[in-house]
Each structure stands twice: as C-alpha cells, then as structure tokens.
Symmetry: C2
Subunit: 87 residues, 2 copies
C-alpha cells in the first residue's frame, strides 16, 4: 500500500500490526506544488551569511527562521539549516 | 511524553490509541551530531547550478542526488532541493 508503513503493536497482550502514513518531511509548506524547489542566485545574496531551511518548519521558508530548534526539541531530531556564505 | 504523538487505532472494532515517535525529518544522516548545519561558500561553487538536499535522504548529503523522487513517491510528500545558481 503505497505511502504506508506497518508498525508493530505496542500492546503486550495482542500481536497486531497497523498502518500509519510513512513519514513525510514536509507537513504543510506549499502542498499544492507537486515538488517544492527553490532557487537562489548567489550573486544576489545581500548578507554575508544567509541560512536556508531544511526542516520544513520555517515561517519564512525557504529561509530559516530558527524553527528547527523547536522541531528538534519536540521530536529528538537533529536537523539544521544550510548556510550560504559570501566568503 | 516528549517526542511522541498519539494516533487513533485503525481497528474498526476497538477504540484504542497508541504511541509512535513524532516525525523526525532526518532518520539517518550524521545522527551523532547535535544539529546538522552545513556551509557553502558561494564563490567556490563550480557549476552553474548546484542542487542542495532538503529531504535528508541523499547519499551525497548535503548535496542532492535525486533521492527526493523516491521519498516523495513512497510517502506522498512534495519536497525538493534548493538550487544554488551562479547567475
Ligand atoms: S527553520 Fe528550518 S532549518 Fe531553520
Ligand atoms: S536528494 Fe534530498 S532533495 Fe534531492
């Protein structure tokens, strides 16, 4: 069944498995787009360092707004941004 | 319980909920690092377009190797790379 994975039951008394949706990385951003691709023309970067989001939780996507901190805390994940540096 | 979310049971016959790990974006890459941050010095880019991974499934992370296609197909997700362009 495409897009689903089986997990073992957590019950000690019954052996059963169940279906949950396989993990999507992006729960909310631009879901009407078939594939979310963004472009950065690097000569147009204004700041010396610009962080770009890789956690898909930013309110300023495709830029990083620090939301990866909350995501990591809530899930135990370890994701962070891609830093674009002019030098 | 931090890092866990409840899902309703899929069983029609019993009303039960169970715990699974809240969704991490990154299941495998550099999990020994507290936060995976990468830097690109944009003046050192060699190609006109360089795609950087945002799906956390690339075999050449932090670069994109096209693995987002398989991830999207398997999960119904819609993630894609960040394209760094020299002009
Ligand atoms: S907000 Fe997504 S990586 Fe920082
Ligand atoms: S392989 Fe991850 S975005 Fe392409």
């Amino acid at each position: 069944t495409k897009g689903f994975v089986t997990y073992p039951s957590t019950s000690q008394h019954k052996k059963r498995s169940f279906l949950v949706r396989a993990e999507t990385v992006n729960p909310e951003i631009r879901k009407s787009e078939e594939k979310v691709v963004d472009s950065v023309v690097v000569t147009e970067l204004s700041k010396n360092i610009t962080p770009y989001c890789r956690c898909w939780r930013s309110g300023t996507f495709p830029m990083c707004d620090g939301s990866h901190v909350k995501h990591n805390k809530a899930t135990g994940d370890n994701v962070g941004p891609l830093l674009l540096k002019k030098q």
